[in-house]
């Protein structure tokens, strides 16, 4: 079954992806992120036709704890965050918990 890529974020963030052909996009202006981003992300995550969700790192801060946890652990669809941060999201904590060592920290050094 073929799936598509979805983008969630501000219109400035999503425009570039739409230029590359991404059809499924959820535009949430910066001033509405506090209230709207949770619903937008949940909608996309529940869509079976979506295989990859692209978000900006900074937008994770606007998500509620539950949605953020879902975003960080979701495998189908997988959420890829790009932007200012390391992009690891909750992956770093997961690695620390599973392996017992902060491997990402070691690699950064």
């Amino acid at each position: 079954m073929s799936q598509e890529i979805a983008v969630v974020g501000s219109p400035e963030f999503t425009t570039g992806f739409r230029l590359a052909g991404v059809r499924r996009s959820e535009n949430v202006p910066d001033d509405e992120k506090e209230s709207e981003l949770d619903d937008a992300v949940t909608d996309v995550l529940e869509d079976d036709g979506v295989g990859i969700v692209v978000m900006h790192d900074d937008d994770l801060e606007f998500l509620s704890r539950n949605v953020r946890q879902t975003v960080e652990t979701s495998v189908e669809p997988v959420v890829v965050t790009i932007g200012s941060g390391t992009g690891g999201g909750g992956l770093r904590d997961q690695i620390k918990r599973a392996i017992g060592i902060d491997l990402m920290d070691e690699d950064e050094q």
């Binding site: 079954m1 073929s2 799936q3 598509e4 890529i5 425009t15 570039g16 992806f17 739409r18 230029l19 590359a20 052909g21 991404v22 059809r23 295989g51 990859i52 692209v54 652990t73 495998v75 997988v78 890829v80 790009i82 932007g83 390391t86 992009g87 690891g88 992956l91 997961q94 690695i95 918990r97 599973a98 392996i99 491997l103 690699d107």
Partner: protein, 248 residues
Amino acid sequence: MAKDVKPTRKNLMEIEDRIELSERGHGTLEKKRDGLIMEFMDILDKAQDVRGDLAQDYEDAQKKINMARAMEGDVAVRGAAAALQEHPEITTESKNIMGVVVPQIESSRVSKSLDQRGYGIMGTSARIDEAAEAYEDLLESIILAAEVETAMKKMLREIETTKRRVNALEFKLLPDLYDNQEYIEQKLEEQEREETFRLKKIKEKKEQQEKEERQAEAEDEAAPDVGDESTAEPDMEQSTAGGVPGGD
């Protein structure tokens, strides 16, 4: 826990079987955990490279779209974006790494030629084309990152589960089983000692009884002689008494 089991030989044998199985399982799970961690290290190295490329591609794409916005205006860029007809699609196949099913994502229609993009060549500038191309490259990197990160997440889950199982066996199940085994062995030894002591006591009692019986028999044997003497006396008296009249 140890008090819950009945100290019987059957239970001891069952516990010994369970210990053997648990120890074997513990060893196997430890090997699986170590193998998964080794595989994970390889994927982590790949993920670091992919992340580096992704950050670079995103930076390039942002520069190019900002340039296009500055030169053509935001409306023109949005207009070009809205005209797109070909949409990238992904199909997922799976690969098995030590029992963990990880995806292999195949993409199609990500990189497009100018005429496939849908917006008119005449109405737009090369800046928009460059931005579109940069975002197409970014999408390729995102798809690769998605594949690697999904594999990482799945492997981390499996590592965590295996680690929990290993710890449960090592720190809970096996110590409990060893406790139970020790408890039953102690109880059985105690029972054995009690049994030996009891048999010893019975033997002593029996010996004592036999001794008493022998003594009684000996006394019995000795007693009839004394009885004869005592009974003989009256006879003798009688005989003497009888003899007197006879003598008279």
